[in-house]
């Protein structure tokens, strides 16, 4: 009997799947009018302040719009996880899926499957293949980020001198995209500036601090450190401060205002660049709701998202606007 049990279990499992084929989940989107819309928000990874802030904005919008928000994502870099979560959501019966895609091509299959089941799909933060979603909530293009970083750095250094980059890992796809654009802008506009080194910090603040300290020693003429992953910005600033070079070596980067406030106010870090992350979550939820209700249709050229006002749509990209530069003068107005 004991030996039979597992087979019975397997058989019943198979049976459940087999007979269930006919009585599959009710098609979403046709939910009775009284039921709340449920919108699923997929971050690239969890345990990351950036997406925690996105969620904060999304939560706010969900409360205002009276929709249900599901938030789930992978906790590591396993590329299969995002697909699994989307497939889970399909069977869970959500109305809209909004995804920040780690794998442009990889996730497309799962998203198309969702579309085939009548679930509306849009992407935010980073896009998938265009045919796998209706809209992309675009906070800033790789070009926008790269150019803004390079232009700000050039302005800080007076358009000449050496600078170095701290990145998360040498393999991170989105950061490599930004680096490409930084270098393109450099070549095109700032012949007197020179990128001397690019160091990885494994997404850790302390490692960024050590790498920056090494760079400061190795390149005594260094004029600027550009940190393009968020933990690296305070790390680089701390190294510059400890080396007694605050102000002499400029620090800028892509990061969250809260983590950098102290350095920005004491003039160690000159500029922190990021879009208003909370608005990104807020806008995504608004777009998702409008999409589900049929208020946002393909071909629209603008979209009104509550207090954010009228936003432009280019093709199928809903534009949040240009990256925002946080400086000493305005950083106190933000809390994320």
């Amino acid at each position: 009997m004991k030996r039979l049990l597992p087979f019975l279990a397997c058989a019943s499992f198979a049976f459940l799947i087999g007979c269930g084929q006919s009585s599959s989940t009710p098609p979403p989107g046709t939910a009775p009018a009284g039921k709340k819309l449920s919108i699923a928000l997929l971050p690239k990874s969890k345990g990351n302040q950036y997406f925690v802030t996105v969620r904060k904005g999304a939560d706010k919008a969900a409360a205002e719009l009276g929709v249900e928000l599901l938030f789930d994502g992978p906790t590591n870099t396993d590329p299969a996880k995002q697909n699994e979560i989307v497939e889970n959501w399909i069977t869970l019966g959500v109305d809209v899926i909004a995804a920040a895609c780690e794998n442009r091509e990889g996730i497309a299959t799962a998203l198309k499957k969702a579309q085939a089941k009548g679930i509306k799909v849009l992407t935010y933060d980073s896009d998938t293949m265009p045919d796998a979603r209706s809209f992309f909530v675009n906070q800033a293009t790789a070009q926008g980020i790269g150019y803004t970083l390079m232009d700000t750095a050039a302005k800080l250094c007076g358009e000449e001198g050496e600078f170095a980059i701290i990145t998360a890992t040498l393999t991170a796809a989105n950061m490599n995209e930004w680096r490409k654009n930084i270098e393109a802008r450099l070549k095109e506009k700032y012949p007197k500036m020179k990128l001397v080194d690019t160091k990885p910090c494994d997404d850790q603040k302390d490692k960024a601090q050590q790498e920056t300290a090494n760079l400061l020693g190795a390149y005594p003429d260094l004029k600027c450190v550009m940190a393009i992953c968020s933990p690296a910005v305070p790390g680089a600033a701390e190294a510059v401060k400890q080396a007694g070079k605050a102000g002499k070596v400029k620090v800028l980067g892509l990061g969250l205002p809260n983590e950098n406030k102290a350095y920005v106010k004491s003039d160690v870090t000159q500029a922190v660049i990021l879009w208003k992350v909370e608005d990104l979550g807020y806008l995504t939820l608004h777009a998702a709701t409008a999409l589900a209700k049929g208020d946002l249709k393909p071909g629209a050229t603008s979209f009104k998202a509550g207090p954010l006002g009228e936003l432009k749509i280019e093709g199928t990209d809903i534009l949040l606007g240009q990256p925002f530069v946080f400086t000493k003068d305005n950083i106190d107005q933000f809390d994320f």
């Binding site: 030996r3 049990l5 597992p6 087979f7 279990a9 397997c10 499992f13 198979a14 459940l16 799947i17 087999g18 007979c19 269930g20 084929q21 009585s23 599959s24 989940t25 969890k46 345990g47 599901l70 938030f71 789930d72 994502g73 992978p74 906790t75 590591n76 870099t77 396993d78 590329p79 299969a80 697909n83 699994e84 979560i85 497939e87 889970n88 399909i90 069977t91 869970l92 019966g93 794998n103 091509e105 990889g106 497309a108 299959t109 499957k113 890992t169 040498l170 393999t171 796809a173 490599n176």
Partner: protein
């Protein structure tokens, strides 16, 4: 078993759309790769060894398969065959170091754990991904056959093969004997090295198979594929009652272990109140579950030994009475 039933009851009660056909087929699809790894991890653990490299090998095989199909333009069937061969060779490499160079399996596979992942990252330079696969191949990951997902059939076949090997052939018996006492097995005339090597080669081949199935399901091959799978596979095996020291265990127990883990992860993400933190929670629970399974195995053994001792000590007294 009890654990699995409890999970099913809890998640059906509190989870949303948990006991639907689509979701069950999701669970099956998502756990095939880990299930395959657990199935072949089981004989390795049965011999008293361990293989920490299977997850990394999965990543390496996925990447190799990707390059062969996309860059070399090989048809998936040929590329798949070569991938399986490479998996077998990699398993053989582990086996060689363990049986010939006589290093502990732990240390060898900890080394190849980094080596295989490192190779995968070197081939892709960390960034390249492979996603141009023919539709017919992708069916392996998403189509159904006679009501079951295609990969479930593959899984069932492998499960039956492993079950027969472990429970119905001399292989299984010699694996147990080796796990129980390698020296004793050697004195009994068993080809200890060859049997251990066989288990590792099988693990390599099946890890390669899992890589192909994963690639078909995700429609993309990346160097990070299979990260952390070795831990899940070990957890499933130990949870299924196989002793981490080798010697005892069953394949059907392992299957139950796989099902428990798969249901746990899926079910947690369906309970509305904890949905937001379900991934972290299932990570924590999986680790805790492994620790619990490991220690309960030892405690159970301890208790049964004590009971056996008490019985033997009681028996003489009864005979003396007579």
């Amino acid at each position: 078993m009890i654990f699995l039933v409890a999970e099913l009851i809890i998640f059906s009660a509190f989870g949303r759309n948990f006991l639907t056909a689509d979701n069950l087929s999701n669970i099956v699809r998502h756990s095939t790769e880990i299930g395959l790894l657990a199935l072949v991890m089981m004989p390795v653990i049965l011999t008293g060894g361990i293989d920490l490299s299977v997850g990394s090998l999965l990543g390496l095989c996925a990447v190799l398969f990707g390059t062969m199909v996309q860059d070399a333009g090989l048809p998936p069937l040929v590329a798949g065959g070569i991938t399986l061969l490479i998996g077998g060779l990699a398993g053989g490499f582990n086996a060689l170091l363990i049986t010939r160079v006589r290093l502990p399996a732990l240390i060898v596979t900890l080394g190849t754990f980094s080596l295989f992942r490192g190779l995968a990252e070197a081939i892709t330079k960390g960034t390249a991904t492979y996603s141009k696969f023919p539709e017919s191949f992708l069916a392996l990951g998403s189509a159904t056959f006679m009501g079951l997902p295609v990969q479930a059939w593959i899984f069932i076949v492998i499960a039956m093969v492993v079950w027969l090997l472990v429970h119905r052939t001399t292989f299984g018996r010699s694996w147990r004997a080796i796990g129980f006492s390698p020296e004793g097995a050697r004195y009994a005339g068993l080809p200890v090295e060859r049997r251990i090597a066989f288990a590792h080669v099988m693990a390599g081949i099946v890890a390669a198979l899992a890589a192909i199935i994963l690639t078909a399901r995700v429609t993309q091959a990346r160097a990070e594929a299979g990260t952390g799978y070795e831990l899940l596979a070990i957890t499933a095996v130990v949870l299924g009652g196989t002793s981490i020291f080798g010697g005892t265990g069953s394949v059907h127990g392992t299957l139950l272990g796989v099902a428990s883990i798969a249901v746990l992860t899926n079910g947690l993400s369906r309970i509305p109140s904890i949905m937001g933190v379900s991934r972290e929670l299932s990570g924590v629970l999986t680790g805790a579950l492994l620790i619990f399974a490991l220690s309960s195995g030892v405690l159970m053994k301890f208790l049964s030994e004590r009971r056996a001792r008490r019985q033997t000590s009681r028996n003489p007294s009864t005979t003396s009475n007579a």
